[in-house]
């Protein structure tokens, strides 16, 4: 493990502060402490053994001066990260000490809330991912880079589209809310709303605080875990370094959805009685007898992405700086330039010790982005991805002549549409050759040629954000560090969307131009003041931290729209802005309302450890939130936690007897967290939506309109946050000279007072209301196992992690009974939230094969088989949450070559590919249903209109997958060569990302399909799949 200079220095300084200045009968001793490279060790403590009050710390140049009692024979020199040495000084006025790096200790420090801690001292469950794990990935998001790297941390990507955010879930799902499931995100001490802006290359480390005790210092916001991200800081060893990292990525569609081809589709439809036979289909003009369109291939081609980072860094005894600038430009694999993500990020990190007792610094990140994305994840026509799944393969991609168009389209093309006696044309989208994008002659529903949706897409969003902190560390007296830190975020975003009158089929057409623009600004600041006091006396080490924080958020935006059959002075691209309004359109304005939130918190921590063997820690936090979240009476919440660790390997009886074990610790923790993010928008109150309704009592439509008011819901002043109580037991082990590392954790997390957005029964007349009415239990095992070694020049390491997750709703208020989640079409299959089952499980009929007549039969509630199930027979037919996940990373290096393979997988969950509808049975569907018809499922004519069949487990698939996310080969030129041209490092690599997918799921991508809204988890409505990518990159440093 490599440690940054700063981390080490900080730790040493902290250790040195624990010493107490000497006082008696002195003789002077001077000296210098260096590391094996000859670099000075700053802040090493130099103490007379047995007299811990006689000691000092080394200065910036590694030197020290100490008055020692006359008879002193030796001094002990120690510093975190180095092997402690006892140096004889008898008769010597000066000593030079070379400290050996402490390999045994793996003295990594990890960032914890409002401080750092030695990893070996941890008593909670903290997963730590270092920069080496994040580098050279093709992903542009920090969250995506975390996937598969830490046990117990689930990373879901909603979509493989450029710039899409990945979602982090720590230890499962402990809320039934659609949002508010992600962990608290803290970057360099700043609470952020997302980490999409962070280029993975700028990250030094990511710590995931998984258990309650670790996270408890963040109180009501930490119920879903905490992710602490530290960006890189200047390294003293790399003082004056200028670096460049570049990569170039080519992406294309990976795992294909297996939909029927033309012959299969024809046969399916004919068997169902929906289409005549082949000859008649051709005679009817539905098909030319040849066309066999694969709509996924029509939509997806090749995507290109590039990323460039340039930067400089440096540091000395008093300070350090790290500057970098990253430019990322991803153009997704869908054809056309309508799915892209461009981002420019600058990171400016610096700190400086301006006086002995004060250090100031800043971490600042500046981001500019631009994004355009295709619609997805919907069962309705607006979804570009849906078209790629459900359009019949008989339809060609293009119509070359007007005669090929179906009547409606042709009619629209020739006649346009008429409003107020004026006729306007429809846009019938064409390609660059002037051919028209086709539309199906067979189905008129939601399946729209995806290229039409691509052509029609004119949305664009851009934004600019500055996020940063400014801090001062003051050391008024020894052992006490007082930190005042101001964090801020300033953001601006803008989006523009234009739609024109177009025609595809009778369901998909528009007679209006619609131009909308919106802009929003937000600012956020947090002010935190906290003090750390650390004191060692003898074998006792004590740490106390106390502080407070205040945060405030303000966001507001305005938007405007213009719509109508004729709205602008011109319709070429340079007129598509609101000011070119011709006065004929309907105008809309909105926004401007400030949305504010604020929070006050107090927190504290107490650490005690004895002889590096026994460690005890307690945390406490009190949080108060503003009135937009909680009523006055429920404003405050209190969150305690305790944890303890026993480092068995430091016991003498163990040390003396078990030589092959280098480190063994067991630890346990218990604590309470809250989840506040589910509360917003005055959910506890009911107000009157004033004048939000209207009716006109004037038949002749005079200008008099009457306005109406009504409540906006049902009040619940008792509403409070969700509370999690979590217990964690863990074990850390290192053996065989630290070549083998092993960590195991077991956790049990009970979340209570779940906010349940319930739909009252229809007769109440209100769509939904929020109550605290449920509890969830998450429990699981997490293992991380690593082996690293080298055989001569050949070095290798294997790191794997595996975690399980059992999720269960343990309580739901009986009056609620169950909550319906999402469903698809007219299926009776719903996702359900119900006591005794995992969150949002799939509920439908249990398919039990066919009876002798070939009719589908189902398991009835009483266990018998039935062909006509009733709603009493609906039952659990699948879990939508993966129950296990794993990741494995293999690295090898030999001379300048390095090779990495990284794979990750998950499983135990079920997926429903939503690509068949009895309402519109002429949509295309998975080839599975064609191939299995008459074998494991009834023949097509028996199922195509059977809601029961499509609501059964026959339509549920296993979501298990394993993906090789990365196969990378790199070569670093020998330093002997590069140094001649003053290059300190040059590495080139090639990587295949997301190339191999192992799954039985017949839809697009089981990884992206597992997401969507939490309630709709398991229902795959066509998400942008992850692409397979090939990547070329270089790393260059001067």
């Amino acid at each position: 493990m490599r440690k940054s200079f700063l981390t080490k220095a900080t730790a040493c300084i902290a250790a040195a502060l624990l010493c107490i200045v000497s006082y008696a009968q002195p003789r002077s001793l001077v000296g210098k402490v260096v590391d094996p490279n000859g670099d000075p060790v700053v802040g090493a403590s130099v103490v007379v053994p047995g007299q811990s009050n006689v000691g000092t710390a080394t200065g910036p140049d590694g030197s020290f001066q100490l008055m020692v009692p006359a008879q002193t024979a030796s001094v002990t020199v120690s510093c975190i990260g180095y092997v402690t040495q006892t140096v004889p000084i008898a008769g010597r006025p000066a000593v030079n000490v070379t400290l050996e790096e402490d390999n045994e200790f793996l003295e990594e420090t990890v960032v914890i809330g409002y401080g750092v801690q030695r990893k070996s001292d941890l008593t909670g469950a903290v997963a730590s991912v270092r920069s080496a794990d994040l580098e050279h990935r093709s992903v542009s998001s920090a969250a995506a880079a975390l996937q598969g790297k830490a046990a117990g941390v689930q990373v879901y990507s909603n979509s493989g589209a450029p710039g899409e955010t990945s979602h982090i879930r720590v230890r499962g799902i402990s809320s039934n809310s659609g949002s508010g499931l992600g962990p608290l995100l803290i970057v360099d001490g700043l609470k952020v709303d997302n980490i999409q802006y962070l280029d993975p290359e700028m990250i030094e480390s990511m710590e995931v605080l998984k258990d309650a005790a670790s996270a408890a210092i963040y109180g009501a916001q930490a119920g879903n875990g905490v992710v602490l991200i530290t960006t890189k800081s200047g390294s003293k060893e790399k003082d004056g370094q200028i670096f460049y990292n570049g990569k170039y990525t080519v992406s294309s569609l990976g795992h294909h959805a297996q939909v029927m081809n033309a012959e299969q589709y024809l046969d399916f439809q004919h068997t169902a009685g929906l289409l005549p036979d082949r000859d008649q289909v051709i005679a009817n003009g539905f098909w030319d007898g040849k066309t066999n369109t694969n709509w996924a291939d029509v939509l997806f081609g090749t995507g290109l992405a590039q990323s460039h980072t340039v930067g400089a860094q440096g540091g000395n005894e008093r300070g350090s700086y790290y500057l970098s600038l990253n430019y990322t430009n991803e153009n997704g694999m869908a054809r056309g330039d309508k799915d892209y993500y461009k981002r420019l990020t600058a990171q400016i990190n610096a700190d400086y010790k301006i006086k002995k007792w004060i250090t100031v610094g800043t971490n600042t990140s500046i981001e500019r982005y631009q994004q355009q994305s295709l619609s997805q994840g919907s069962e309705y026509a607006g979804s570009t991805l849906l078209g790629a799944l459900i359009i019949d393969p008989l339809t060609p991609t293009l119509f070359k002549t007007v005669d090929e168009m179906p009547f409606n389209m042709r009619n629209a093309y020739e006649n346009g549409f008429t409003v107020d006696g004026v006729t306007y044309p429809y846009k019938i989208y064409q390609n660059e050759d002037g051919y028209w994008y086709s539309t199906s002659k067979i189905m008129e529903g939601d399946g729209v040629n995806p290229l039409i949706n691509v052509a029609r897409n004119r949305n664009e969003s851009r934004g600019f954000n500055v996020r940063g902190t400014i801090f001062a560390n003051v050391t008024p007296i020894k052992d006490l560090v007082f930190t005042s830190r101001l964090g801020y975020r300033i953001g601006q975003s803008w989006s523009n969307n234009y739609e024109e009158p177009y025609y595809v089929n009778p369901k998909n057409h528009s007679e209006v131009h619609n131009l909308t623009a919106s802009s929003s600004q937000n600012y956020f600041y947090q002010w935190e003041n906290f003090a750390n006091y650390n004191h060692n006396f003898g074998r006792h080490a004590l740490g106390v931290m106390a502080g407070m924080s205040y945060t405030f958020n303000d966001s507001r935006g305005v938007n405007a729209s213009l719509r109508g059959p004729d709205i602008l002075k011109g319709y070429t691209d340079n007129f598509l802005y609101l000011p070119y309004d011709n006065g004929k359109g309907e105008k809309g304005i909105g926004g401007g309302t400030p949305s504010n939130s604020s929070q006050i918190s107090y927190f504290g921590r107490l650490n005690y450890s004895y002889d590096n063997r026994y460690t005890l820690q307690a945390n406490f936090r009190a949080d108060a939130f503003d009135s937009s979240k909680l009523s006055l009476k429920n404003r405050w919440g209190y969150f305690p936690s305790v944890s303890a660790g026993w480092t068995i390997s430091n016991e003498s009886w163990f040390k003396d007897n078990v030589s092959f074990v280098d480190f063994l610790k067991i630890r346990g923790s218990w604590g309470i967290n809250g989840n506040i993010s589910v509360l917003s928008g005055y959910p506890y109150s009911t107000s009157i939506s004033y004048n939000s309704k209207s009716y006109q009592y004037d038949v002749d439509h005079g200008e008099i309109i009457s306005y109406g008011s009504q409540p906006d819901g049902l009040a619940n002043p008792d509403l409070t946050w969700e509370t999690s109580v979590q217990t964690d037991l863990g074990l850390d082990l290192r053996m065989f000279n630290n070549r083998l590392t092993f960590t195991a954790d077991w956790f049990n997390k009970n979340t209570e007072d779940l906010l349940v957005s319930i739909s009252p029964v229809a007769e109440v007349g209100i769509s939904s209301t929020t109550v605290n009415a449920g509890a969830i239990n998450n429990t699981g095992w997490e293992f991380e196992l690593g082996w690293q070694d080298h055989i001569g020049d050949f070095g290798y390491s294997i790191n794997g992690n595996f975690s399980t997750l059992q999720n269960k709703v343990t309580y739901l208020e009986p009056s609620v009974g169950h909550i319906q989640g999402d469903h698809f079409s007219n299926y009776k299959l719903y996702t359900y939230f119900q006591e005794g089952y995992p969150v949002w499980f799939l509920r439908g009929y249990e398919y039990a094969g066919m009876n002798a007549e070939g009719v589908a039969q189902y398991v009835a509630a009483d266990g018998t088989l039935t062909t006509t199930p009733t709603s009493d027979d609906l039952k659990y037919i699948g879990n939508t949450l993966p129950t296990f996940q794993y990741g494995i990373t293999v690295r090898m290096d030999w001379k300048g070559l390095d090779f990495t393979v990284f794979g990750t997988g998950a499983g135990g969950n079920s997926l429903v590919p939503c690509v068949f509808r009895t309402e519109h049975p002429q949509i295309n569907s998975l080839v599975y249903f064609y191939e299995q018809a008459g074998k494991t499922i009834p023949t097509v004519d028996k199922i195509y209109n059977s809601v029961d069949f499509w609501s059964s487990s026959a339509t549920v698939f296993k979501g298990d997958f394993f993906k090789i996310k990365q196969i990378q080969l790199g070569y670093t030129l020998p330093r002997a060569w590069t140094s001649k041209v003053r290059i300190s490092n040059f590495r080139a690599y090639v990587s295949m990302d997301d190339w191999f997918v192992f799954t039985n799921y017949p839809g697009f991508d089981p990884e992206t399909a597992t997401t969507g809204g939490t309630r709709g988890k398991g229902l795959d409505k066509g998400q942008y799949p992850n692409a397979k990518k090939i990547l070329f990159g270089v790393n260059l440093a001067f």
């Binding site: 007082f482 009778p506 109150s685 609620v816």
Partner: protein, 585 residues
């Protein structure tokens, strides 16, 4: 050093204290709302709360179920006046399955579900007015305005329950705002009807009457006449025939309503007829910009759908193609109407034949020939630019050669700036229905007074009048007059005629319309040399063999929506929850 220490600590403590004392920082008032406690007080508040009821009522007619306005399907699909085709037999299946009582028809049908839910939303809004301005015994109705607002709300609430009772039998009675965890149960059928009748009667006495036949605005809000008409209807539906005569006669004798002349019958369902003397109550759709979004988008596009495969449109009607519905009159209805009164005002206003459609309406684009003169009828019938386009299919599904023109939206109904949304009003009760209800109440109770009123309806329609007041005559006249207005199915069920009259749905074949202008089987690619002429091809759509058709003991009622029952299943122990209607689970 000490100085800094001291200063540092002093600052820290000061900061913490300042921030902590200031919990006001956490009080952020909500924008754009007023507190619940401050509302429901004044007369203005009562009017405002009532407008929310009307708003929700208007929404009922825009609630969609998939492809179509749900309410139109809900009240009309099971009757015997309409075929419910889509573009083909597998289009808009969930309307077709109601229409033919197919085996796939079940409780997940979105049209039924969405209407059911919207009905209770209206009831909730009405209950807010009633709970807040009436109280238990009227103690909160402290002003004339509040009393009137409550009476309007009670009338609408009772109407919703009446509609639900017709189609669900025993829907829960919700006579106050329910708590979020309520578990309502099926109403007792008898008690529910008694409650509806009582509510309407009490409300009527607290309502002002319409101010004469020319009071247009008196037609778009609840008046005494509306409440009495509803009460009379409820009594007839419930079988209280003798009692029903009183409120219905009060409406007739009020002098505030009259039938429009026969030639104006077409206007009844268009903007030109909004608020006319025949309207007892209708919902006002407006074209003001800030209200225009409530225009009837779904409603009209889908009613016009059967024109989607027509080449060119008459200037009169809107030219938009829609999606989902193709509602042609049934052979049964067409044959009966023509036999009774071919060429009457009513027949011409209600239905139009294929040939009439092509030749009797002006077509701006097509009628003028190259020499500037207009086409003759014969020329029009040979014009390849008109008629059905068979580009896609050989024939048009579920059409008997006639189109239902009664409610097809006109160009004149369009909202400003829109090619699809219209603002013609939605009739809830018109005077013709009042007369027919009165005639029935008389016929059922052996009172010959009703004959005069039955004949008023027939006479105005230009149809033959009746010499005797028999139920057969009442049934026939009501069928013709009220076709496609949502009364037929409910009437058939309560008259005990449903099984007989709807039997054709279980065994009839389906008519497909073909134009003789083309050679059949060529998808319109080959012309036959004959003039345009509707030819009906009967095909078996296969559903009858699968068990489609009205089933006595089941299809009299709709199933309670699947997800409504799912949320609130019958719990025998606690005696709460909803029981599904017989035969539906």
């Amino acid at each position: 050093m000490k100085k800094y220490t001291f200063l540092g600590f002093a600052c820290l403590i000061a900061l913490m204290t300042v921030t902590s004392c200031n919990q006001d920082l956490l009080n952020i008032p909500q924008k754009g709302v007023i507190a619940y406690e401050d509302f429901y007080k004044t007369d203005e508040d009562a009017e405002s709360a009532l407008v929310a009821v009307y708003d929700s009522y208007v929404s009922l007619f825009n609630v969609s179920g998939g492809n179509s306005p749900a309410y139109n399907v809900f009240i009309n699909a099971p009757g015997d006046e309409l075929y419910w085709g889509g573009g083909k037999k597998e289009d808009n299946i969930i309307a077709q399955e109601i229409n033919e009582f197919r085996t796939t028809f079940g409780s997940t049908n979105a049209y039924l579900t969405n209407v059911y839910k919207q009905m209770y939303k209206i009831i909730y809004k009405a209950n807010l007015v009633i709970d807040n301005f009436w109280g238990e015994n009227g103690e909160l109705a402290t002003s004339a305005v509040k009393k009137r607002c409550v009476a309007e709300a009670r009338t609408i609430r009772a109407w919703c329950h009446m509609q639900l009772a017709c189609y669900y039998g025993t829907p829960p009675l919700v006579d106050h705002v329910l708590a979020g965890d309520a578990r309502p149960t099926n109403a007792d059928k008898e008690e529910l009807w008694q409650w509806i009748i009582k509510e309407l009667g009490e409300a009527a006495e607290a309502l002002p009457a319409r101010n004469g036949k020319t009071d247009k605005n008196g037609a778009v809000k609840i008046t005494q006449g509306a409440a009495l008409a509803f009460q009379g209807k409820a009594m007839v539906l419930h079988g209280d025939y003798a009692a029903a005569k009183t409120p219905l006669k009060r409406v007739i004798d009020s002098g505030n309503y009259d039938l429009v002349p026969g030639p104006e019958m077409r206007d009844l369902f268009h903007g030109a007829g909004d608020g006319n003397m025949e309207k007892v109550f209708e919902l006002n759709f407006s074209d003001l910009d800030y209200y225009g979004n409530n225009g009837r988008w779904n409603f009209q596009t889908n009613q016009s759908l059967f024109f989607r495969q027509m080449k060119g449109y008459p200037d009169l009607i809107i030219q938009q193609t829609g999606w989902g519905n193709n509602m042609g009159p049934t052979k049964k209805f067409v044959d009966a109407l023509l036999a009774n009164e071919e060429g009457s005002y009513r027949q011409k206003a209600w239905i139009v034949s294929y040939e009439q459609y092509l030749t009797e309406f002006p077509y701006k684009k097509l009628d003028k020939k190259a020499d500037g003169t207009l086409m003759t009828k014969e020329e029009k019938l040979m014009d390849p630019k008109r008629g059905l386009d068979f580009n896609k299919y050989n024939d048009l599904y579920a059409n008997y050669g006639w189109f239902f023109f009664k409610k097809v939206p006109y160009q004149a109904d369009l909202l400003n700036n829109s090619s699809v949304r219209t603002d013609q009003n939605q009739i809830i009760m018109r005077y013709a229905e009042v007369l027919l209800l009165y005639a029935e109440a008389c016929a059922q109770s052996g009172d010959s007074d009703g004959l005069k009123y039955l004949n008023m309806v027939a006479q105005r329609a230009g149809a033959p009048t009746y010499s005797a007041l028999t139920m057969d005559n009442v049934k026939k006249e009501k069928w013709f007059e009220m076709a496609w207005e949502g009364t037929r199915f409910v009437d058939l069920v309560r008259w005990g005629d449903a099984a007989k009259e709807l039997a054709f749905k279980g065994h009839d074949e389906t008519p497909y319309l073909f134009d003789d202008f083309y050679v059949y089987g060529t998808n319109g690619k080959k012309q036959s040399g004959n003039p345009h002429k509707a030819v009906i091809v009967w095909k078996d759509d296969g559903w009858a063999a699968k068990g489609a058709g009205f089933k006595t003991g089941k299809n009299e009622l709709y199933p309670f929506p699947f997800d409504v029952i799912e949320l609130n299943p019958w719990d025998a122990e606690k005696g709460c929850g909803l029981k599904q209607n017989p035969g539906w689970d």
